[in-house]
């Protein structure tokens, strides 16, 4: 203090005679400036103020005077000077508004970053954005605090660059991005956060849950929420929703957190038999009943799996120090109820603990949570500890949001509604964000295909003969085949199919692996080869001694046989496939679709070229034919959407469809050509009264295709179809599936058998 220059003791008002307003403000903050700017720099600081006032006017200088002392306090005096240098630069590239915004944002950033180096880095990122997306800089600055609270500087830079790249030459889009309105920005923000993403650990977690609980409820990822309050897992109606990532939990601890969260939800699913009625409970009581219920199910789960305590404990970090607020006390109580080694002097926590552990045998009863929670809630109310239900977040992190515990009036969670609107806006179509509302997805799929049905335009591509068994000859150019563009449905329903048959998908995978690495075949008794076939050699030697003519085929060799197979799957999509069968309440068409999906998955995995076509018919003039997937198309999202959009209509005129599919297949150059036909019933059409006519025609079509070297195999879903299917395809080429529900599992395996 002694060496401070005397002229700095008082505000030099006369030093700024032309700027009375600035001088006044300077006087107000002078004490603060003196406290934060070391004395030897005060002169420089004043010069910087003066300089800013000269270059950018009094507004900027005022901003600097007001904000730079806090910057200096938080991130060192160099930061204040760096700020003074940056403001004119930013103003030059992004406009004066951005310069002022920088001054406003600087204290918060300095507090967040806490060091001159960090602050300098931050300014560098800002300059970068200022150069490439000047219009967005002010917006970015306004959101400084939220952004830096979410991600660190390096991630911020990556995030900003991503926005600039994603919307190059589209300033408007950039504005949306930096205003955090663009969903992409929110998504990118989540990815920029350090943290394990659920997708990375999903498989392991599912296996973990399946191993311990022998079941895996459907899992959905919560739609990206950007900068909202920290999120928790949630479960409702048997579906578990998990956040895409827990921010700031990277590596091993992130994995453990997901595991802890799922183990907690599974403990609820196991031990919370029914939802609690809300009754007249106050919010604080609801929170406490939930807390006790959490502890209760965890104790029961720990009794079964002692290791779970080790999994959960690290996340209980509340301790007895700190302010006595309701959320803090509740976190402490949560810890006291699981951590035997935790001591808490607070009477309320102690009381809760005592009540909870008074009788461990009572843990079996969910009513216990209600009793204890209600009592503790009253006590907390009497202690006048503030509880705000709006801002309350369940602690610790791994616990669920309690939505699934209470019998709440049905309303979608707000995040979901938002996401719903978003997806409507973005995709122009509505779907539940979880993609799992199968019924809903199917409805839309059916709608999507029914609406355009009236105005769908097809191209007549061929006329095929039909065999009239009465006159014993072909009727030439009789049936007209029209190709229609397939309607598109929800591709997600197709992806969901794979999820519904995990065991089967696994088996398919194993079969693919087995078939792909098909071990070389040992060919014995060859006339040439790289080794002697011992058996044959001995037999030859014996023959020679016996005076017989020995065979010269005494060699063996190994050979790899390559697959060369094209498969065309033809699906019957007639009206009758809409019939609901079996206990699962699914229509034949749905089962066909599931089966085709699994089959497609298998064939795609095998690398065999395959096509997926469907047909139905209304009179001989209009045999509908849909190409869901062609040989040269990939098994991709478009194909899946088409498969999802498949609808059952009209009749089943097999002959024309078989001929058309056969023609397609005949053009393939493969060694083996397989036509796999899935049908649920007898051929029929509204213009044909004679039941035998279409059967005979189909038989004729099959015979002629067989002559062209095409293998035709039929999967019949009509238990009574033995007679006519055998007549059409030949007895050995038909498989009857009596329980149609089993089609999805039977079909891929059948394919392996046929193709093997």
């Amino acid at each position: 203090m002694a060496q401070r220059p005397p002229e700095h003791r008082h505000v030099p008002i006369d030093w700024l005679p032309d700027q009375p307003e600035l001088a006044g403000t300077l006087q107000l903050v002078w004490r603060q400036a003196q406290a934060n700017v070391p004395a030897e720099f005060l002169g420089d600081w004043l010069r910087a103020c003066r300089d800013l006032a000269d270059r950018m006017g009094s507004h900027a200088a005022l901003g600097f005077v007001r904000n730079s002392p806090s910057v200096a306090a938080a991130a060192g005096v160099e930061s204040a000077f760096a700020l003074a240098a940056a403001v004119p630069e930013i103003a030059a590239s992004a406009g004066g508004g951005a310069g002022l915004a920088l001054l406003v944002a600087a204290p918060a950033a300095a507090r967040r970053l806490g060091s001159a180096q960090g602050f300098g880095e931050w300014l560098r990122v800002l300059r970068l954005v200022g150069d490439r997306a000047p219009e967005s800089l002010a917006l970015l600055l306004e959101r400084t605090e939220r952004l830096l609270a979410t991600i660190d500087l390096r991630a911020l830079e990556g995030w900003a660059l991503r926005g600039i790249r994603a919307a190059e030459n589209e300033p408007e889009r950039r504005l949306r991005y930096f205003a955090l309105v663009d969903p992409l920005a929110l998504r990118a923000l989540e990815q920029g956060t350090e943290g394990v993403e659920f997708a990375d650990v999903e498989r392991e977690l599912k296996a973990y849950v399946t191993a311990l609980w022998r079941r895996m409820p459907p899992l959905r990822v919560l739609p990206g929420g950007g900068l909202e309050a920290p999120r928790r897992t949630s479960f409702e109606g048997g579906i578990i929703r998990v956040p895409t990532a827990f921010r700031g939990w990277a590596g091993r601890s992130g994995r453990e957190l997901f595991r802890a969260a799922l183990a907690h939800v599974l403990a609820h699913l196991q031990f919370t038999p029914a939802r609690f009625p809300l009754g007249g409970l106050k919010p604080v009581q609801v929170a406490l009943v939930s807390l006790i219920e959490d502890a209760r199910v965890e104790q029961l789960a720990i009794a079964q799996y002692p290791g779970l305590r080790r999994l959960w404990l690290p996340f209980h970090v509340a301790d007895a120090a700190g302010a006595v607020t309701a959320p803090a006390l509740m976190a402490r109580l949560a810890r006291a109820l699981i951590d035997p080694g935790y001591a808490d002097p607070h009477g309320w926590v102690g009381k809760g603990r005592e009540m909870f552990f008074a009788d461990p045998s009572a843990w079996q009863e969910p009513g216990l949570s209600r009793t204890i929670g209600g009592l503790l809630g009253n006590d907390l109310g009497q202690m006048r500890a503030q509880f705000n239900a709006r801002t309350y977040v369940v602690e610790p992190l791994y616990r669920d949001d309690h939505q699934g515990l209470w019998d709440l009036p049905a309303s979608p969670a707000p995040a979901e509604v938002e996401a719903l609107q978003e997806s409507v806006r973005l995709e122009g179509r509505a779907d539940s964000p979880d993609g799992g509302g199968r019924a809903a997805g199917d409805e839309t799929a059916n709608r999507a295909s029914l609406v355009p049905a009236g105005r769908e335009v097809g191209i007549p591509v061929a006329r095929y003969p039909e065999w009239d068994f009465l006159i014993g000859r072909d009727r030439n150019e009789w049936a007209t085949l029209i190709e229609y563009p397939p309607a598109e449905g929800q591709g997600e329903t197709i992806d969901a199919v794979l999820e519904r048959y995990p065991e089967l998908v696994w088996r398919i995978k194993a079969l693919i692996r087995a078939a792909k690495v098909s071990r070389p075949l040992r060919l014995r008794r060859q006339s040439e080869g790289d080794r002697l076939d011992l058996e044959a050699a001995i037999a030859a030697a014996i023959d020679r001694r016996a005076g017989l003519a020995p065979s010269a085929k005494v060699y063996a060799r190994l050979e790899r046989r390559f697959r060369d197979l094209s498969v065309l799957v033809l699906i019957d999509a007639s009206q009758s496939t809409n019939d609901v069968v079996g206990a699962a309440g699914k229509s034949v068409l749905e089962l066909e679709r599931d089966a085709a999906t699994l089959l497609g998955h298998a064939m795609d995995g095998m690398g065999d070229p395959f096509a997926l076509h469907a047909f139905c018919s209304e009179t001989r003039e209009n045999v509908h034919y849909y190409r869901l997937k062609d040989f040269d198309e990939d098994w991709n999202a478009v194909v899946k959407r088409r498969l999802a959009g498949l609808a059952g209509r009209f009749s089943t005129r097999m002959g024309a469809a078989l001929r058309h599919a056969g023609r397609e297949l005949a053009q393939r150059l493969s060694y083996r050509k397989l036509l796999l036909f899935i049908s649920d019933g007898e051929p029929s059409d509204i213009d044909i009264a004679d039941r035998r006519y279409l059967v005979e025609d189909a038989r004729r079509a099959v015979l002629s295709l067989r002559q062209q070297g095409i293998d035709i195999f039929c999967v019949g879903l009509d238990a009574a179809g033995d007679g006519y299917l055998a007549r059409i395809f030949g007895r050995g080429n038909v498989v009857q599936i009596d329980a149609v529900e089993r089609l999805p599992e039977r079909l891929p395996l059948l394919y392996f058998r046929l193709a093997g």
């Binding site: 392991e204 296996a207 973990y208 311990l212 895996m216 087995a514 030697a541």
Partner: protein, 265 residues
Amino acid sequence: MNLDEYRLRDEPYYRAIGDEVRLFEAAYAERMPLMLKGPTGCGKTRFIEYMAWRLREPLITVACHEDMTASDLVGRFLLDAEGTVWHDGPLTLAVRHGAICYLDEIVEARQDTTVVIHPLTDDRRVLPLEKRGELVRAHSDFALVISYNPGYQSVLKDLKESTKQRFGAIDFGYPDAAIEAEIVAHEARIDRPVAELLVAIGQRSRNLRGHGLNEGASTRMLIQAGRLVARGIAIEAACQVALVVPITDDADIRGALTAAIAALV
């Protein structure tokens, strides 16, 4: 010829799960061919050893593989200085001299190989040796037992209908937890609580069957883990060595198994 070397001298440990011992004895009394079905490591081989010991019959075991020919079972001519010499295969040996012939993992053998057992498994009970022009009538003690693991490969590898229908079958599964713990405790010479924990671990791994694993950990694996524990290895480490690492190469599934084991310990 003396089959003494195929006789079991000491009683093999076998803990009956149900009435399989009685069933087997009845079937053997009738010389009914039997098929033992069940996943790997659940005790099929141990069971047949135990039964052979109990019935005081020699036991000839053949491990089937896909390169096996009928001559590997029946026998072949070999050359020596004098000329050709016939050598009985294991099956012929059992048929001629009276033994239980156990064909392990029969589906692995090609279907054209397995048909040689057909004449032995109906009321003819003969084995024609084509090459020798001999018809061997089965010894009265001869019985045929095959084992069969209906795993995921059964789509591609399956017994012919005509083979299947000649056999009676006993289905083996992993035993109940209490019995399995008893077995593990006995075989690994460990305390009952440790064995129970190992069995609980094994059961959790079996939940993953079809969800990442082809098969869960077998009783044999649990015994192996138990033996390591008996040697002073910590249980989690023992499970890693004897169970997690051998059973899969999939990092996710290994992670899940390790975590599941941690939850149980």
